[in-house]
């Protein structure tokens, strides 16, 4: 309850989180929206004074993010943000540690740190700005670029298969996995808040438009005309329904998701798959994540799955406490003078 009282006293506004630095992303970049939604969400989820927030980043357009937040910030080196953030969190578990990163930074050069941070369940929040392109180096393909995508380094189309980031996070046992879209401000704010309130590694993928090197990559998911038929919003305890008139649903038949028409009288809303974001088994979340690769299926956004288990720094702190209880506070002299000692007179 104590923390609730604090929240009221803190009374932060979005402006409190804006630094005095000029924001220097390209005009029209999706990063502006992510920054704005973070600043708007923070007053509602930050339950301790803001000097306890640390933003860590790697290299790339998105990694300039910490400079624009009036919190502690560390602009690291390419790919290493999750490791730097882990060090910050383990060193001082009282800090709220956030990572801003991109698809090249997190999934290519930093892939190893990403999966191990998830595996260890370090309590840090990772926001992946996924624009499916290398922006800062001016337009080479990234590990989330689509097969066939034409970029500066794939003039004949990419032959690589892209990563499905939520699936990678799920495979690495991240305890909170969600997705949102830069242009869906309300939804994005909601996801940032939910990630912030999670205890453990929270992974939030944000589809972000790079209007210079990969413009329109997510148009289908953001254009008024098409978005309802191409996006499905996951809500805990609710059936999987999508479409302009909420006229389509998804059923789970065995391991297979099936799209059904809710207007032809065969199926009603009661026959649909009801989303359970707290499902202990990762199987269903994995099937939802596979919608991305299934012809005709909508792209899911929302929280795929979240579970609670001991975090890395909790484990480290617990063990320190246990050993202290067993052996007593460390006594330097006792340790140095242990073993076979002898005296020379």
């Amino acid at each position: 309850m104590e923390s609730n009282i604090e929240v009221k006293q803190l009374n932060y506004t979005p402006k409190d989180f804006a630094s005095d630095q000029d924001v220097r992303w390209c005009p029209g970049c999706g990063d502006y929206s992510i920054l704005a939604q973070v600043q708007r969400s923070f007053p509602e989820i930050i339950n301790k004074p803001k000097e306890n927030i640390v933003w860590v980043s790697g290299i790339g357009c998105s990694s300039r993010f910490p400079y624009y937040m009036n919190t502690y910030g560390f602009h690291g080196i390419h790919g290493r943000a999750p490791a730097i953030a882990t060090g910050v969190k383990v060193a001082n578990p009282n800090l709220d540690v956030w990572v801003a990163t991109g698809d090249g930074d997190l999934l290519s050069i930093g892939g190893n740190h990403f999966i191990h941070t998830c595996r260890k369940n370090v309590d840090i929040k990772i926001i992946l700005f996924n624009n499916r392109i290398y922006g800062l180096t001016k337009g080479q393909y990234s590990p989330t670029s689509l097969k066939g995508q034409v970029t500066k380094t794939t003039p004949y189309g990419s032959v690589d298969y892209p990563f499905n980031p939520p699936k990678l996070a799920l495979g690495a046992e991240a305890t909170f996995i969600a997705r949102s879209i830069d242009r869906n401000a309300k939804h994005l704010q909601e996801m940032i808040k939910r990630a912030g309130l999670h205890k453990g590694t929270a992974f939030l993928e944000v589809f972000q438009n790079c209007n210079i090197f990969n413009d329109g990559a997510f148009d289908l998911l953001t254009d008024k005309e098409t978005k309802d038929d191409h996006v499905i919003e996951l809500k805990h305890g609710e059936p999987l329904v999508f479409g302009k008139n909420k006229d389509k649903g998804i059923r789970l038949e065995g391991f297979n998701p099936v799209i059904v028409d809710l207007t032809d009288g065969h199926y009603s809303i009661n026959d649909l798959w009801v989303h359970d974001e707290f499902d202990p088994s990762p199987a269903r979340a994995s099937i939802i994540m596979s919608f991305d690769e299934k012809e005709g299926f909508p792209t899911p956004i929302g929280i795929f799955r979240q579970i609670i288990k001991e975090t890395c720094e909790e484990g480290i702190t617990r063990q320190i406490d246990e050993v202290k209880k067993k052996k007593g506070e460390g006594d330097l002299k006792k340790v140095l003078y242990s073993g076979n000692t002898w005296e020379v007179k």
Partner: protein, 617 residues
Amino acid sequence: MEKEKEKDPLELKEVTIRFVGDSGDGMQLTGTQFSENTAWVGNDLNTLPDYPSEIRAPAGTLYGVSGFQLHFSSDDIYTPGDQPDLLVAMNPAALKKNISELKPGGMIIINSDSFDAKNLSLANYSSNPLEDDSLSGYQVIKVPITTLTTKALEGIKLTPKEVSRTKNFFALGLMYWLFNRPLDTTINWIRQKFAKKPEYIEANEKALKAGYDFGDITEIFSSRFAVSPAKLPAGIYRNISGNEATAFGFLTASVKSGLPLFLGSYPITPASEILQYLSEYKHFGVKTFQAEDEIAGITTAIGAAFAGNLAVTNTSGPGLSLKSEALGLAVMTELPLVIVDVQRGGPSTGLPTKPEQADLLQAVFGRNGEAPLCVLAARTPSHCYTMALEASRLAIKYMTPVILLTDGYIANGSEPWKLPAMDELPEIPVKFVTEKEGFYPYSRNEDLVRPWAIPGTPNLEHRIGGLEKSNIYGNVSHDPENHHLMVTIRKQKLQNIQKDIPDLQVEGDEDAELLVAGWGGTYGAIKEAVEKARNKGVKVAQVHFNYISPFPKNTDVVVKKYNKILVPEINLGQLAYMLRSEFLTDVIQYNLVRGLPLRVSGILDKIIEIAGGKNGK
């Protein structure tokens, strides 16, 4: 304990023993136990474990031979000994690989049971050396160790394999008899180690005592030997290896600075033990983080330094290469960080279990951009303690990464360590900034050191990172003048450390013509060579660098004072390169890169050659 002493043991001043056998024969354990015992009876000692990088190479093969050399004395000693006086060989391969190193007329104790056709052929012996006259220049003591151990253990419920594994304790017991030693240290160790396996305690103790008694009741040795306690300075001592001393150094630095210790680390030979040791000290609040790779080892440490911990990462050569980019980040963000590089043979994977000194230039220069940092080197196993403590002090005081170089020889080797009195330990003051008034992330004190303002401090929110920052204010800056200024400031800040470190100490004949200059783990060999040369009437002085970046402030004066400078190194001349370029003075190189410590005799020959005027400038 002993029934009688028929004759007095033969008093020796110093002895070098080498235990050799298969990697599975427990030679490292035997050597360590004998060392502990040697330290405990008060001899000065120095050890050199030498093992293959294969954990269990096929039994009986030449490349599976593991060894442990131990030099002990009633006088001060500084090296593990050039050549053993006594070889304990558990199989033909071990004999074959080591016999050429044994001193002429030296003693060999051999497990004769292992000299069967199969093992002889695995060792590429065309005839049995125990039967031909190839060993006639040595005193050969054949002991059927396997048979005797098996007999001694009759009735204990163990598999034949388990029984055979205790034969190293038989050999150890025999050596304890030969050197007139008590068994207590090893019996205590066995009882602690196998507390949960009483049958192992019984078996190992029986094997140990059987070996001792075998020496006592048979007359295969013409006499026993004794080495009197060394006249070391008064104090409490323990035996310590370099890696354990390094771990203790950081533990002490954590206590003296009041900062929690964070070690980000990835296992690598021969540095992993530092992580292993420190992971035991959780009751000191130590946080050991076994990272996913070398890069995460250092970057987690950088994060922990930003958050206000005493941050350390440890590695060996290839790992230092992987950490290079992050070292640049630590230079740029000006955070305190200690990196231990336990050097091994390179390049690439090289010789993982063998010592070398070839990472010096990488440590001093191996980063993109102008990225100066502090480089220190430890000279002996126990000196690792002092230098780990010193590295922590300098890192914190000057907000800089510090690389501490040790090597596989001093890391695994051991020597008696005079334990420091608690009140003699240096304080390590830490000042976290808390005042908003006048705070800027890159403002600087008189030593050009920026403030350490850690997350959690109200009103001091700021951002740092790898991009160039404007001086004082710390905002991202691409301004040409500012960049030049910052590059110069970072260099000057490092140079300012000179005021805070001790001068080079000249040992030996200060007024000599010849100075022998070294750094790191070659200290002992150089010292012994210099002393031997002086005993032969050659005038020679010695300096040894604990600080290489920056060099001590009297370095210029010292190197210019001597007509000739000899620089022995286990590389192709890296300190030599630095001395020449920094002080415009020529030096004579002595380089042997065999994956082994330098021999005293080699350095001595070189000194005499130079002093004889045949190889001056």
